[in-house]
């Protein structure tokens, strides 16, 4: 079993994955009953990605899902009823019927930013979220997802490049599910690993088996921790498979049957169930308890959604502008005086050494200063090339005592220590 997770957390991962799957299965049924207004974009076979990545985030952190990341919304605290009502365009939905599917969010408490259909746009937006969080001293990490197809957009490049130059605490998950609608990934990009893109941005990257929820979680957790420590963005490629068509209308006949057959053997929930059994983290009773809970919750929320009214037609006219309906206030976690003059004032010059020359050592000697061309060093810079840099932007953090990882590390350390007699009894935790 993973040393990074408690038993309860292991079981919670199962709960969320199964909730994700069962919820989507119900959406498919509702679609067939004509109760869904738009499309249903199945994440069947990809549940470990949504759950494993978002589970690595803390409450204060921000995420922005893509269309197949309903699971991340559940992990962050939205309820199945929010998903049902969104798909059914009900007035009780988070957007009151203004938008559907996973296109909703919550700024104030859950810290979820709504996606849009244009791929890649969330990458610069979440970079901005990460930069603002750092500016306000909030010690947050921002995470978003992009498909293998979405990596071909201009916004992907612009956003990731800005995040890299800003060393923003930002995790980008490339969810490589092999298919961009009907086009295989091999026709989207000429490289085997999408994670290789990271080298071009000078940021760290990882590749992980997207159908292994524990591996996805551990990889994501490490990335989130790195970001929080101020080491800049991390790109994670998860390799997985879209087991249905692009949406309900698409039978995905273009996918070779053998490919589906292979990936069926890799089903993330079946794999995780064996894992839990192997590590004796549960038994049949526990599983049926969790499954029953999911059934109950979904019954209740589906009923709520089906019984909810559609929005009144005239509400279409409302809400184009914020006319004072929202209070806009920043949550400052550092003294404002730090960003106000005189503390904020600097000498407005670029420091340039080595002049960007081909022969760097010679040029550096000639300039005898510090700085590079103002750019921070790339992560993959060879160790023997010493690159000085401007003082980095303030990263006002380390991990706080409330950070889940701190608590877990402490527990793990305790667990590793050989038992020895203590002068007094340790209090139970």
């Amino acid at each position: 079993m993973s040393t990074k997770l408690t038993r309860e957390q292991h079981l919670e991962l199962y709960y969320f994955m199964q909730l994700n799957r069962q919820l989507e299965e119900r959406l498919v049924k509702l679609f067939r009953q004509n109760k869904i207004v738009g499309g249903v974009y199945s994440s069947l076979g990809q549940e470990a990605v949504s759950i494993g990545t978002s589970y690595a985030l803390e409450k204060r952190d921000w995420l922005a899902p893509m269309i197949r990341n309903i699971g991340t919304l559940l992990v962050k605290g939205f309820k199945p009823r929010d998903i049902f009502t969104q798909h059914m365009a009900k007035y009780t939905s988070p957007t009151h019927g203004k938008d559907g599917t996973s296109h909703f969010g919550d700024l104030k408490t859950l810290h979820v930013v709504s996606p849009i259909s244009m791929l890649g746009d969330l990458i610069p937006v979440m970079t901005g979220v990460a930069m603002a969080g750092r500016y306000l001293g909030q010690n947050i990490v921002a995470m978003t997802w992009i498909g293998d197809g979405g990596t071909s957009t201009g916004a992907f490049h612009e956003g990731l490049n800005l995040a890299a130059t800003q060393k923003a605490p930002f995790v980008l998950v490339i969810e490589n599910n092999q298919w961009a609608y009907s086009t295989p990934v091999s026709l989207q990009v000429p490289i085997r690993n999408l994670a290789d893109r990271a080298a071009a941005y000078g940021i760290a990257s990882r590749i992980v088996d997207g159908n292994d929820v524990v591996a996805v979680y551990e990889t994501s957790k490490a990335a989130v921790d790195e970001c929080r420590a101020g080491r800049g963005p991390v790109l994670i490629e998860v390799k997985t498979m879209r087991m249905k068509g692009h949406a309900q209308h698409d039978p995905a006949e273009y996918v070779p049957k053998e490919m589906f057959e292979y990936w069926k053997t890799q089903d993330p929930i079946a794999r995780y169930e064996s894992y839990l059994a192997k590590h004796t983290l549960w038994d049949a009773k526990k599983k049926s308890e969790i499954d029953a809970r999911i059934e109950r919750e979904l019954d209740e929320d589906q009923k709520f959604a089906e019984e909810s009214p559609m929005p009144a037609p005239e509400t279409a006219e409302q809400g184009v502008y914020c006319d004072g309906c929202h209070t806009i206030a920043a949550d400052w976690r550092r003294p404002k005086s730090e960003v106000m003059p005189p503390a904020s004032s600097v000498e407005a010059v670029w420091k340039v050494t080595d002049f960007g020359a081909f022969d760097r050592p010679a040029a550096r000697a000639a300039s005898a200063g510090t700085g590079g061309n103002g750019a921070p060093p790339a992560r993959n810079e060879p160790a023997d090339v010493e690159v000085e840099k401007q003082p980095p932007l303030r990263v006002p953090f380390g991990r706080g005592p409330k950070d889940r990882s701190v608590e877990l590390e402490r527990r793990n350390k305790l667990a590793e220590k050989p038992a020895r007699p203590k002068p007094h009894k340790r209090r139970r935790r």
Binding site: K98, T165, A348, L393
Partner: protein, 324 residues
């Protein structure tokens, strides 16, 4: 008080808002050490530092996207387009992400997107544009286009304090050509309010930005012929100040609209429709318009002069309308 230019007024607005409110940050290409292509942000970096004056890569989509993300945490970013023509590069981010945010999921985007616009400086097809109507056609945005130093400062402050995304067009021909004394006190000019620049009774000339000055010049020439033109400066294109427009038309009964934007799909068409819908019986003549040609902005000075409206063209159209 000494006179200051429109450019200086814009810079003052940025300084004062950043001093007043630490949530105001700026980002854009070359805005820091260099001070911006037109020096609108000169001096900001030295005073407010790299966290608040962010030099970005050449990435308009990233600039607008990041500004939007920042605004979700309660910041009030002011993003610069080096030339407003480049807003085409981030059209999707502006019209689909930013503009629809509040309507779709109730997330306000209190950001400003500002940049130098307009022709008359021989910038050619990619540095002279007036792309305002793409955005006037986009619900969720506000579009502001001042013509004086006083208005530029007051409207930029209003834009920064607004809870909605505001596109702030700065006519680069006016940057250093219009000057005036500006009050030392903190003042704002409300978004969505037009202003009557000159009273008249024979016809109304509606305009904005550089063409507001052309309209005033024409009105002065017309006055010598005994034609009293009322000149209105729209200042804000979205939302339009229908009240001021209709009030003036009801008074003068004739309307001439002048804009530097190209003719087809320019705001003249929209205003003509509003007037026909709401004040048709007050009209004593056809609604006339003087606009740029339906071509890209040409580079050579004789071509650009032919392309742009000027006082002579406005006078000729006004004369014809007054006689009608």
């Amino acid at each position: 008080m000494p006179e200051i230019t429109m450019l200086e007024a814009i810079r003052e607005a940025l300084f004062e808002e950043m001093e007043r409110d630490p949530t105001v940050v700026t980002l854009g290409e070359d805005i820091g050490v260099y001070g911006g292509a037109f020096k609108a942000t000169e001096g900001l970096l030295a005073k407010f530092g790299r966290e608040r004056v962010i030099d970005t890569p050449v990435s308009e989509t990233a600039i607008v996207g990041a500004a939007c993300g920042m605004s979700y945490l309660g910041l009030r970013p002011v993003a610069e387009m080096q030339f407003i023509d480049f807003i085409a590069c981030c059209f999707n981010q502006v019209t689909n992400y930013v503009a629809k945010s509040h309507y779709r999921w109730g997330a306000p985007v209190p950001m400003v997107l500002r940049g130098p616009s307009g022709g008359g400086v021989h910038g050619g097809p990619f540095h002279s544009g007036n792309p305002e109507m793409y955005f006037v056609h986009t619900p969720g945005l506000k579009v502001v286009y001042p013509s004086t130093a006083y208005d530029a400062k007051g409207l930029l402050k209003s834009a920064i304090r607004d809870n909605n995304p505001v596109l702030f067009f700065e006519h680069k021909f006016l940057y250093r050509r219009v000057k005036e004394e500006i009050p030392a006190s903190d003042y704002t000019v409300p978004i969505g309010k037009a202003i009557v620049r000159r009273e008249g009774r024979h016809l109304t000339i509606l305009s904005y930005a550089a063409m507001a000055h052309v309209a005033l010049e024409a009105a002065a020439l017309l006055a010598k012929e005994g034609i009293q033109a009322e000149v209105i400066d729209l200042r804000t294109l979205l939302p339009l100040d229908r009240e001021t427009i209709l009030g003036s038309v009801k008074k003068t009964n004739k309307l001439l609209i002048v804009h530097e934007d190209t003719r087809t799909g320019g705001i003249a068409g929209e205003i003509a429709a509003i007037v026909c819908e709401s004040a048709f019986e007050h009209l004593d003549g056809p609604i006339a318009r003087v606009t740029a040609l339906d071509t890209p902005v040409p580079y050579a000075p004789p071509l650009e002069e032919h392309f742009l409206p000027n006082a002579e063209k406005v006078v000729a159209a006004a004369r014809k309308l007054a006689k009608y």
